[in-house]
């Protein structure tokens, strides 16, 4: 984990470590939308992608804490945005167990094999399943991220102090042709 922060350089636009409660996600969302020195369309995309990735951290992070003011248990994780010449990257990091990691790897692999039409079909199929099962979530956040970026999702893992962390990175091109 320490290496991760050492490797981040001056191109970091935003970095946060802590709880991913709804009020925190909303607050960060407003900063992404309004304060980052980026093109407006890019900020809107970053905002929408951040919401989906941050929701995943909140729901699935193995590292959790109870927030007394909202009387809820929420996920803990890290998120950062880095700017590069032709693109911007947004990454979330949270602790996962082996089963979650395997599921995540399978899902990302499946998503990265699909073109736009395939992704749209996959999204609708997951959503149909969720509606039929009366499930609260369509579990389509990562599919939405792939649709928004039109780039493969990058999934990496790091190990730190006997814990395993998943890093999910979405890359958004600055110019789309």
């Amino acid at each position: 984990m320490q290496n991760l922060f050492e490797n981040l350089s001056d191109n970091v636009l935003f970095l946060y470590k802590g709880i991913f409660s709804y009020p925190v996600i909303v607050e960060i969302s407003h900063h992404i939308r309004n304060d980052l020195m980026l093109d407006e369309k890019l900020r809107e995309k970053l905002f929408a992608i951040f919401v989906e990735l941050a929701q995943n951290v909140n729901s699935y992070s193995q590292q959790r804490t109870k927030v007394s003011i909202i009387n809820k248990e929420v996920g803990i994780g890290v998120f950062y945005i880095t700017e590069h010449k032709n693109y911007v990257k947004i990454t979330t990091l949270n602790q996962v167990d082996n089963e979650q990691l395997q599921r995540l790897q399978d899902r990302v692999h499946k998503i990265n094999l699909l073109d736009r039409k395939g992704l749209r079909n996959l999204k609708m199929s997951f959503r149909d399943e969720a509606i039929q099962d009366h499930a609260n979530s369509g579990n389509v956040g990562l599919v939405e991220v792939a649709l928004k970026t039109a780039n493969p999702i990058l999934l990496d893992t790091i190990h730190f102090q006997n814990a395993q962390y998943a890093l999910i990175t979405a890359q958004i091109n600055k110019k789309t042709d």
Partner: protein, 131 residues
């Protein structure tokens, strides 16, 4: 039956404005949608629609004027569209107007997919100025 009015909170949270009229059947959701308890929020809307369909049984004009919604909200919106489709199949007079900013918007694509998936047509209307 009472109208359902919810004032949105765009500056703090992402709660849409809701205005469902029992007397006219004109129902509008506008603004942005990302809530902590998405299903609690949309369940109120779904329950209102259910009651309208059972008790009032008059035409419904549903206007979606959302400029942003997260994937959980999209799932709830689709559930409402399924309900409207069932009402239409039972002989109900249903119009769905979907407002969008431009064709490149993800909300436009979302509407295309929902229409195909649920099997009901939306009137796609480009938002102008202060819509």
């Amino acid at each position: 039956m009472e109208d359902l009015i919810i004032r949105g909170e765009k500056k703090t949270y992402f709660t849409p404005d809701v205005n469902f009229s029992a007397s006219t059947g004109i129902c509008t959701i506008s603004g942005e949608s990302y809530q902590e308890e998405t299903f609690e929020f949309f369940n109120r809307l779904i329950a209102w629609l259910e009651e309208y369909i059972v008790k009032i049984r008059k035409p419904i004009e549903m206007n979606y004027k959302l400029t942003y919604f997260n994937t959980s909200s999209a799932r709830a919106i689709q559930e409402m569209v399924i309900m409207l489709k069932k009402y239409k199949d039972q002989g109900g007079n249903v119009t769905i107007n979907w407002y969008y900013v431009d064709e490149e918007d993800s909300t436009y694509e979302e509407a295309e997919d929902m229409q195909a998936q649920v099997g009901i047509r939306f009137n796609m209307i480009k938002m102008e100025g202060n819509d």
